[in-house]
């Protein structure tokens, strides 16, 4: 009897372990299908996604005669990560309207967050070459080995929150074209206007609270800090991470509760 319940319990535990692992496995399989398999058949697309984050870096590098390289590297890394989240939004609306992929996933044991994670991982895979080059540049231009965990944490936080935001936005867009327009607008709001490519010192005092309200400002400041550049006295690493974590939690909560999965 006792043995029997023990066995039952063991079975139950395995069941829980298996079912709680399933979403992770599902996310990786989705990433495998939409990322790995796709790249295997279209390796050239990797070249295009790998090159695009370097366009602004290149311009800034040339204009400044090489002097502006740190902010340019930092800005490019942050903007690339924003871009992957937004590209996720674009992919999701494309899969939904053109392929009816979402219809198949909604009526299946895959949760919206798992679906989002899967596609976000696949975006990350597409971005990997650029990310490797950009993080190497961050290391090269001043970061110490000890700051690698900070660097990775920053990348994951921004990638996570931007992906959740992309998912949320795309689920609310009715049309593909609409999504593309909104996405380039959001890119400007998050990556161009705030002090991502330039120092926050240039932001007038009155606009600073606004700048500090942007997650990308903090990502940029953390990276500058890692690279040994001075950061404003009113800012600290803890503050930066607190804002990034808050955004991650907020956007994931938004994606979980407010993104449209089943239509109304």
């Amino acid at each position: 009897m006792c043995l029997y319940t023990l066995q039952e319990e063991a079975l139950e535990m395995t069941r829980i372990a298996v079912t709680s692992m399933l979403p992770v496995r599902q996310a990786f399989l989705i990433a495998y299908m939409t990322g790995v398999l796709w790249l295997r058949r279209n390796p050239m697309s990797l070249v295009f996604t790998a090159i695009s984050p370097f366009s602004l870096l290149f311009v800034l590098f040339v204009i400044s005669g090489g002097g502006y390289v740190v902010p340019a590297v930092v800005g490019s890394l942050v903007m690339a990560l924003v871009g992957y989240g937004l590209a996720l939004g674009q992919d999701i609306s494309f899969y939904k309207t053109e392929y009816k992929v979402q219809d198949v996933f909604v009526a299946s044991p895959v949760s919206p967050l798992t679906y989002m994670m899967g596609l976000a991982l696949s975006e990350l895979l597409f971005g990997l070459p650029a990310l490797i080059v950009l993080t190497s540049l961050v290391m090269l231009f001043g970061a110490s080995v000890f700051s690698i965990p900070l660097l990775i944490a920053t990348i994951l936080l921004i990638w996570g929150s931007m992906s959740a935001m992309g998912f949320f936005l795309s689920s609310r867009m009715l049309h593909m074209r609409n999504a593309t327009q909104v996405i380039s607008f959001v890119n400007v709001i998050l990556a161009i206007l705030p002090p991502v490519f330039y120092s926050i010192d240039r932001v007038p005092d009155i606009l600073r609270p606004l700048a500090y309200a942007m997650p990308t400002t903090h990502a940029s400041l953390i990276l500058q800090h890692i690279m040994g550049k001075g950061t404003p006295g009113e800012w600290s690493l803890g503050f930066g991470f607190a804002v990034l974590i808050a955004y991650l939690i907020g956007f994931v909560a938004l994606a979980k509760t407010k993104a449209i999965w089943r239509e109304n």
Partner: protein, 309 residues
């Protein structure tokens, strides 16, 4: 047990003036093939999507496999599988990639996923082309990939929204046979189609909807009885006086140079003699589902196809 029980389902899309479904109530027995027929825009896809937890109804309640669609979607989603209307496979992926990975996503182990993938791909004649990316496959083969994905799963209830669209006659039969296999394993199916022969061949029960409302329901035999006469005689139109046919039953223009007379066995002999005298081709057959459909759904649309009697 009931696979689906819908009570007074109404669906009004945001901004729409008319209801896509109004007050639809129906029951789908488990282990059966249930077919939804209706003209374009009748509300078939809307109903399927509501049942498959893809779309919220505006009012009414539906339980699917005993769970409430609005509140227990998660439980339902473990047990169902769908072929959406106008779905497409991902361009760069092969049929094998689609089915094999999809089964794993749904929780199957690798070996079982492999076996099941091979089985369904062979059944639907996709196995030979299993290594070719979907973008290099024909339209019908792409459609079959979606059918294969849904039918390889071990779901209890399958939603097939026009699954055989664009398939050649052989491929349609492969899908029919897969559908029958599914049923023989105890699975339930909600099917929509515009092919009346398909509906006639597969369905255990049929519901016809028109402009969002149920206008007829029953088995094929029951629906056939909707038309008072049980025989139809098609006669070539050439020089034939429609009025000469009226005494035998209701006359319909098939639109293909033939007149169709719905009548009884007793009149068949006279009608055939009439046709033979005038040297006109004619065919005699029992009333089909197609006739029933035109008879029912053709009404009130504004054309007076059925008012010539």
């Amino acid at each position: 047990m009931l696979a689906i029980e819908a009570a007074s389902i109404t669906k009004i899309y945001k901004g729409a003036r008319q209801a896509a479904l109004s007050d639809v109530s129906l029951k789908v027995e488990a282990g059966r093939i249930f077919t939804l027929l209706g003209r374009n825009g009748a509300g078939k896809t809307t109903f399927v999507r509501v049942c498959a937890t893809q779309l919220m109804p505006t009012s009414g309640s539906i339980s699917v496999l005993g769970y409430d669609v609005a509140k227990q979607a998660k439980q339902i989603r473990d047990l169902i599988s769908v072929v959406p209307q106008e779905g497409r496979p991902l361009r760069a992926l092969t049929s094998w990639d689609h089915v094999y990975n999809w089964l794993q996503i749904r929780g199957e182990g690798k070996q079982i996923a492999k076996d099941k993938t091979e089985e369904i791909l062979r059944k639907l004649e996709l196995y030979e082309a299993r290594d070719r990316p979907a973008m290099n496959l024909s339209g019908g083969m792409k459609q079959k990939i979606l059918v294969a994905m849904a039918m390889a799963t071990d779901a209890q209830l399958l939603f097939l929204d026009e699954p055989t669209i664009g398939l050649d006659p052989m491929s349609r039969r492969q899908v029919w046979s897969a559908i029958n296999d599914w049923k023989s394993k105890g699975g339930s199916i909600l099917l929509t189609t515009h092919y009346m022969d398909e509906a006639e061949m597969l369905s255990d029960y049929i519901v016809i909807i028109d402009r969002g409302a149920v206008i007829a329901r029953g088995t094929i035999q029951e629906l056939r009885r909707v038309i008072p006469q049980n025989i139809r005689v098609d006669i070539a139109r050439d020089g034939l006086d429609v009025d000469a046919l009226r005494p035998y039953g209701s006359v319909v223009d098939t639109g293909a140079g033939m007149l169709r007379v719905f009548t009884f066995e007793s009149a068949v002999r006279e009608l055939s003699e009439l046709a033979l005298r005038k040297n006109l081709t004619f065919t005699v057959s029992p009333v089909t589902l197609d006739d029933v459909f035109v008879y029912l759904a053709g009404r009130g649309i504004g054309d007076d196809q059925n008012s010539s009697d």
